[in-house]
């Protein structure tokens, strides 16, 4: 018994206390909320559906982090800007003029298709440019160096697009066919949420098929496994990395369109916080794993949406929804301390953490 006690590290002890405190707060808050029961059942279901929709967006963005991290072992800090750049451009050049001319309401499907194509094209172009200029020359450099250029690229693109389109919030027109709610099996859901969830599921399945079934996908996985050996096997590593960035950015582009449909506004700063959250989601699910990113996104969206009402309301904290980002970041810290490999991750060794 005494031997065991000596083996326990002070640091471990502190971390365990930290974990215990968080668990106590969460459990206590939940019980208190449930006893108080401040919201009707309808509010809870709405919150949960909103959480799933938000989580689907995070999942789509998180794919980009996971793929790039899997291939290059770097956090692509500028990924949130890929998400922002496409939809900003499509809103300014397509959605707003189309809404003024009435084209958007007459041909909603065609318009959405056009918007999606433009968004994806711009996001992919920005991603490829960033990769070529800021990341590729530094692939052999110490790991701090590409991370710093990624931070630089992130701010560069944010303020570049601010200069291009102006700093004010841009409205994204509402599609008449997507306004309002529908009742699904007794649960009333916003139509836009259904679109987001369905689109995200389809995209994720398609992506999984692409990475697992196609030859290109195989080359990406080979490069992720070992760049040098992949090069020896005749795989063009630069091309595989570019494709990885392009795939991640196109997912981010679609997430951008869905974001605009739900929130009906775009802004040059809109990519930053969702980017960090999506990274959290990727880590939560296990970085490097595509199903992990999906699951992590879903978890994070749910926690963020339900968490403030469920955990904090009962503790008597005023305006708990202000603290939803605190919940997200606390989750990130907890995951990284106690399960750095994430929910589904298995091969995250020390060297990568």
């Amino acid at each position: 018994m005494l031997r065991r006690l000596q083996d326990v590290n002070v640091l471990d002890l502190v971390l365990w206390v930290f974990r215990a405190v968080i668990i106590v707060i969460v459990v206590w808050g939940t019980i208190a909320t449930l006893i108080e029961n401040p919201y009707p059942a309808q509010t809870w279901t709405e919150t949960i559906v909103a959480g799933i929709a938000q989580g689907s967006l995070y999942a789509l963005i998180a794919i980009g982090y996971t793929l790039v991290y899997g291939v290059l072992f770097m956090i692509n800090f500028a990924h949130g800007e890929f998400f922002m750049s496409g939809i900003m451009t499509a809103t300014i050049f397509l959605a707003q003029p189309m809404s003024e001319t009435g084209f958007l309401d007459n041909y909603p499907v065609l318009s959405l298709l056009l918007i999606t194509i433009v968004t994806m094209t711009v996001s992919v172009a920005i991603a490829l440019l960033t990769e070529r200029v800021a990341y590729r020359p530094l692939r052999k450099a110490p790991r701090l160096v590409p991370l710093i250029t990624a931070i630089g690229a992130s701010f560069f693109w944010q303020y570049f697009f601010r200069g291009l389109y102006g700093s004010e919030v841009k409205p994204f027109p509402q599609l008449a066919s997507l306004a309002g709610k529908v009742s699904l099996g007794g649960i009333v859901i916003l139509k836009t949420h259904i679109v987001v969830i369905v689109a995200a599921i389809l995209m994720l399945i398609g992506l999984y098929g692409f990475v697992m079934r196609t030859k290109t996908g195989k080359s990406i996985r080979a490069v992720a496994e070992n760049k040098d050996v992949a090069a020896l096997m005749g795989i063009d590593v630069d091309r595989a990395v570019s494709i990885t960035f392009a795939v991640g950015a196109s997912m981010a582009g679609i997430a951008g369109v869905l974001y605009a449909i739900v929130f009906r506004q775009v802004h040059f700063f809109m990519g930053f916080i969702p980017g960090i959250k999506a990274f959290t989601a990727a880590v939560l699910g296990g970085i490097g794993s595509i199903p992990g990113a999906a699951l992590g996104g879903l978890f994070l969206g749910m926690f963020e949406s339900v968490g403030p009402g469920l955990f904090l309301e009962g503790l008597g904290i005023p305006a708990p929804h202000q603290l939803k980002d605190v919940i997200a970041f606390t989750m990130l810290v907890l995951v990284l301390i106690f399960r750095p490999q994430g929910i589904l991750g298995e091969r995250l060794a020390e060297e990568k953490a």
Binding site: A134, I148, T149, F155, P318, Q322, F329, A353
Partner: protein, 556 residues
């Protein structure tokens, strides 16, 4: 692209298009038009034109170097071609803007920009002039490169001085006027722009001085003269005394506005010195560094505020609590991240920074720290009942803080702890195997960094007399990180250089302040690509780079 030894015409076309795209980007984001409002030389050239033509000039100059060996005429003509190609995207922009209302999409393509691009001469004539001017700029740049060194260097120095004089004209104007009166300034400046006559005079004087001093140095070298060690030592001592005197008299020379700028620079130097310990010495990339600045500011604010929230301390009694409090927070926030490395550490610390800001903003802590309304009525520091209200007085408090932090950093760097930090930076596993206690070493780095940042925050709160959560966003962390990278990671003078460039310059050049973050981003990328060791690299890194030379000297 530049690594190839020879350059063919296709490369020139590519380079020209690259320069054109850079110029076009600067135009459409509004940078050029903003700078166009400032004339550099009266009725001759505006800052906008200088920056518009900077990409073709730079690329023509660089490319001429490669063609030089083939033929000088060819090099010069390539410059002309490059310049003309650069102007093509801009001409397309001008035509687009004249044919339909492009401004509803790109807010910054203003009539002023088009007028600047066409030199106010209408679409057709203006486009031709633009092509010609850009071509001539490329031609001159390439031609300059073909000149022998004896003439090239004085010309470049002269141009650089003219550019700097024009760039800082506003600030020079103000200071010269208050010191020498109006007469002198009228000779140099007309309005805010340089007087053409004075420009020519300045150029000739500087170029001639440069030419002459180089000749003299060469002659001295031929005669084999060198400076003796004793004299060198004396020079060193004189330099130190001069430096101290300048630092002490700075506010008198600079006046109120510039002192205020220096104070901001000083606060950033203080933060930079702290982050330099965390990132530069210990290699822990901390993106939430603003958290400690915020904590320092809030502790100082709450302890001294004369408002409802305040506890009635004075600046001097609150200062120790500020430093101790932020140090404690440094340790508390350091413990959870002890096991993380590199990227993960960066993103978690970023999360901490955001958590602190959101908590400060939230209603939960509003009764204690004021929420979005912040903490108001913080008194300025006072000595013996004398309030240090003016920036000139606050300067000395910040100077003392900076010197103290500098001294601590400098002593720590070569201490046992400093060497432990650097060992940890190079390789954590090896460092641990060598018997370094990683937990203590990391926590000490976080604590020291947090202490400096907290001190800076405390002075900041007292300087501004009110603090709001919005002052402590992520951009502050990014600024501090940028400045230590630009100056040189791990280098103490580098922090000062970085702070002067990144914090001081934008304050002086208001046109740049608007696009400050864009330039930080670009600067971070360019620095990492071109000069990762920074403008003033640390001794260790320099020594590593020149290790083989020292070995040779040692064997003599």
């Amino acid at each position: 692209m530049f690594k190839k030894q020879t350059i063919v015409i296709q490369d020139i076309i590519k380079l020209g298009l690259l320069a054109g795209l850079i110029s076009l980007s600067m135009s459409v984001i509004g940078f050029i038009a903003l700078l166009g409002e400032r004339e550099l030389i009266q009725n001759v050239i505006s800052m906008g034109h200088v920056f518009l033509l900077a990409p073709p000039i730079a690329l023509a100059y660089i490319s001429a170097e490669k063609v030089l060996s083939q033929s000088k005429v060819k090099a010069t003509l390539f410059g002309l071609l490059l310049g003309i190609i650069t102007a093509l995207p801009l001409v397309i922009l001008v035509i687009l803007a004249s044919s339909f209302d492009i401004r509803q999409f790109l807010v910054n393509v203003s009539p002023e920009l088009i007028e600047l691009l066409t030199f106010g001469q209408g679409i057709f004539l203006g486009s031709v002039i633009l092509l010609l001017v850009s071509g001539v700029a490329g031609l001159l740049a390439a031609g300059l490169r073909t000149l022998p060194d004896d003439f090239r260097e004085p010309i470049i120095t002269g141009l650089a001085w003219v550019f700097l004089f024009g760039l800082f004209s506003e600030i020079l104007l103000g200071r010269l006027r208050s010191i020498f009166g109006r007469g002198l300034t009228k000779l140099i400046f007309s309005g805010k722009a340089l007087n053409p006559l004075f420009t020519v005079f300045l150029f000739i004087v500087v170029a001639a001085l440069r030419y002459w001093s180089k000749r003299r140095r060469l002659q001295a070298e031929e005669r084999g003269e060198s400076i003796s060690p004793e004299r060198q030592q004396r020079y060193q001592r004189i330099r130190i005394v001069l430096g101290v005197v300048t630092l002490l008299l700075m506010p008198l020379i600079l006046g109120t506005y510039l002192s205020e700028v220096m104070n901001n620079v000083g606060l950033y130097i203080l933060m930079g010195l702290g982050l330099n310990i965390v990132v530069g010495f210990a290699g822990l990339l901390d993106l939430g560094y603003v958290a400690f600045f915020a904590i320092g500011a809030y502790i100082m604010g709450i302890l001294t505020s004369e408002g409802q929230l305040g506890l009635g301390f004075t600046f001097w009694t609150a200062l120790p609590f500020t430093v101790i409090g932020s140090t404690l927070f440094g340790i508390i926030l350091g413990i959870p991240v002890l096991r993380m490395r590199g990227d993960y550490l960066a993103i978690v610390t970023l999360g901490f920074g955001e958590i602190i800001r959101i908590l400060a903003l939230s209603d939960m802590l509003k009764p204690f720290i004021g929420g979005a309304q912040g903490v108001l009525q913080i008194p300025k520091p006072s000595i013996f009942g004398f309030d240090l209200v003016k920036p000139e007085y606050l300067y000395y408090i910040i100077l003392i803080g900076v010197l103290l932090a500098w001294f601590i950093s400098w002593r720590l760097r070569d201490s046992r702890l400093g060497r432990q930090w650097m060992a940890m930076r190079e390789d954590e596993d090896v460092a641990e195997a060598m018997g370094i206690n990683l937990v203590n070493t990391k926590l000490l780095a976080f604590a020291t960094g947090a202490a400096f940042s907290g001190l800076s925050g405390g002075i900041f709160a007292s300087k501004l007399t009110s603090i709001f959560p919005h002052s402590f966003n992520l951009i502050v962390s990014i600024n501090v990180l940028s400045l230590i990278i630009v100056g040189g990671i791990g280098s103490l003078p580098g922090v000062v250089v970085g702070a002067l460039i990144l914090v001081g310059l934008p304050e002086l050049l208001r046109e740049f302040a608007e696009h400050r973050m864009l330039m930080y981003g670009a600067l971070l990328i360019v620095m990492m690509l071109a000069r990762p060791e920074g403008f003033w690299p640390s001794e260790t890194i320099k020594r590593e780079l020149h290790a083989h030379e020292e070995l040779e000297m040692g064997s003599d």
